[in-house]
């Protein structure tokens, strides 16, 4: 377990459903090394997204401790946790989640805006990120002027913008055809090769084949899967 990686100890996430308690995650212990490419697999409703949200600081566990990049997330208040998400985590969603009224450039600049970066630097950084995902000629396109694959590339550029240590992609290829999906996975793989820790939730075993390690989530518990 390298310092700077991810360490989950006894993480439980309980939801109140009517009168009953439902354990979406049940005493999960998990360590992920810095720079690893981990594929998270498992049946629908098993708790994959819940796990990813807890690691990303979007959700808090009901019990247990989460340490990411040396930060014990339970100890962080809203401001610090938000800052942690901004600086250390890059999220990529299945449905892209771009701001429809903003251009590619503006979408990529948004996390830098929250980081209070100066406008000039912001623009330079966002442009560089978009060039890196091959969209240097689409800076001023609105999301609805882009293809699905291009949109997801904008989302990846946005996740990259603050140079996070960890990128969490929750079914990034779910809305794309297999060729576009392969491009996205290749792109994420290239980022991982540059040292970014990568956590990809996927149903696609082909995607898992690119990963160093596969983690399987079943009924809220985690076990090591068969790596591809």
């Amino acid at each position: 377990m390298a310092i700077g990686g991810i360490t989950l100890t006894g993480v439980t996430r309980t939801f109140q459903v009517g009168d009953e308690e439902f354990h979406a995650l049940d005493r999960v212990n998990l360590s992920i090394d810095r720079g690893a490419f981990v594929a998270v697999m498992g049946p629908s409703g098993s708790g994959k997204s819940t796990l990813a949200n807890i690691i990303g600081g979007l959700d808090r566990p009901t019990a247990g401790s989460v340490v990411v990049e040396g930060e014990d997330l339970a100890k962080l208040g809203d401001a610090a946790l938000s800052r942690f998400r901004n600086k250390a985590i890059g999220f990529v969603f299945q449905s892209f989640n771009l701001k429809g009224d903003s251009t590619s450039l503006e979408n990529v600049m948004l996390p830098l805006t929250f980081a209070r970066m100066r406008p000039k630097q912001r623009k330079a950084r966002a442009t560089a990120c978009l060039e890196r995902v091959g969209l240097g000629d689409r800076l001023h396109h609105l999301p609805n002027q882009l293809s699905g694959g291009q949109r997801q590339r904008v989302a990846i550029a946005r996740a990259l913008a603050t140079e996070p240590a960890l990128i969490i992609a929750d079914e990034p290829t779910g809305n794309l055809d297999s060729a576009r999906g392969a491009e996205i996975i290749a792109m994420l793989g290239a980022l991982n090769a540059d040292g970014v820790t990568l956590l990809v939730i996927t149903h696609d075993s082909a995607v898992a084949g690119h990963a160093d390690r596969v983690v399987e989530v079943v009924d809220g518990t985690v076990r090591e899967g068969s790596a591809g």
Binding site: N53, G56, L58, D59, D78, A79, S82, R83, R85, N86, K87, F91, F93, N97, K99, D101, S102, L110, P111, T113, F114, A115, R116, P119, R158, T162
Partner: protein, 515 residues
Amino acid sequence: MRFADYLLLTLRSLRRSRLRSFLTISAIVVGATGVTVMLTFVTSVKNFVTQQYVQTGQIDQIQVSETPNLTYSPTGSSNGPGPQGVGNTSTLTPALEAQIAALPHVTGVAAIAQGFGSQDLAYLSYGGHELNFNNLSAYEPDGVITPTLVAGRDLGPTDTANAILVSSDYADALGFKGSYAKLVGQTVELHTDTGYTGVGATLPSVLPPQSQCNPTQGPQPGSSGPTCGPTASLPAIDLPAVVVGVMSAASDHGVIYLPLSWAIAIGNTALPAGSGIVSCGPGTRQTCPDTGQNQGQNQGQNQGQNQSGQAPGSPQIVTWTTQTATQFLAQRGGYGSLIVKVDGTDHVAAVATSIDHLGVSAATGIDALNQQKQKANAIGLILGSLGLVALFIAALGVMNTMVMSVFERTREIGVMRALGARRSTIRRLFTFEATALGFFGGLFGVIIGSVFVLAAKNVISKSVKSGSLSGANFSVPIWLIVVVIAGTSAIGLLSGFFPARRAARLDPVEALRYE
């Protein structure tokens, strides 16, 4: 996040839902326009009234009048003893005037009299025009009373007689419309009634025969010109008067002012007493010692005693007696009113109280001004509250818009949280948006309101030529612009408070899952 970024994101989201933003802002515009127009009207009227009071000096003046005595007195005296022992009546006497002038902070007192002289004067003539005396008044020209002039000068201390001020409508009637300055310096004639024995009259030592009247009915003091009696046959004369100034008809309609001393000299008519033998200087105006008791009332009796052999209708030798100004004033019940000038607006109330203690009524210009202001305020309050109701409804509109906006953008809020936005950032973003709705509503409201005011100004200046508000300056004051925009912004801010808090409290995971 930086302020400029909040601004940018806010403008973007307002633009994204253009129609909704437009409608929400429109509701605020209605209220803001109403408030702007109404408050402009009220403040303009108040400023105009205040300005008038300040310009005419009324703001530092107190008008003193008799306190009416409502107690029945069998002796028939209308004026009982003054409560503080001012003389033996509460009339406005020269003694009271001196007493008031001696009060601290009083810089001057001027007496005003109405009716002095007008009983003896018939009409004004100049260049073939003959005009009625509509409102003939007199005041002490000691600098306290300063009529608003359009030409010439005010009456001054040296104008003891043969000088008048006329209002511009008189000047118009005399053919000087538009060239009031030419009337200044002209001499007009004040034509007296027949039988006039005031200043300037030639008093004969022998009265012509008077057969048409009962000789026991002499002219009563203070009665209007003698239509019968011993002086009835004396000829009317013309008193020359130089017009020293023309007053604005906007403040003084159909008014002619005389210097008070001249008005008293005209009104204080000499009375004949038939002596038969004795005459202390025919044609002179003096009080004869040996006939001092001989007033008009007992003239018939004198006639019977001294001239028993003389048949009625034959000429009689008379002596003329005139009262002193003080006697004349006392007999006429004192001055009409006194105008007191105080050395500062702050002292007016205290001086007015001191004057009240002298047993007379003091009305201050400030009180009158405040009454007018209160009227304007009352109108403003009614109209303004209509605007406020409109603004309140607009505030509900802002709240509704913001609640909708938060619902619609729930997923976006989740994304922003994932990208590192704090709760406070989200709250500020929505608060900013609501405030912007209010701000733009206020801004456009002020602009539209100013256009209305400008249009109304043109209408008023065209339709109300000489009305009481013709001089009012209708323009939206800067402070009102600031207040309206700040007010609507504050309304937006408050209306956005709960929706923004709701947005900030959204759980990021829930928000991201929101369809």
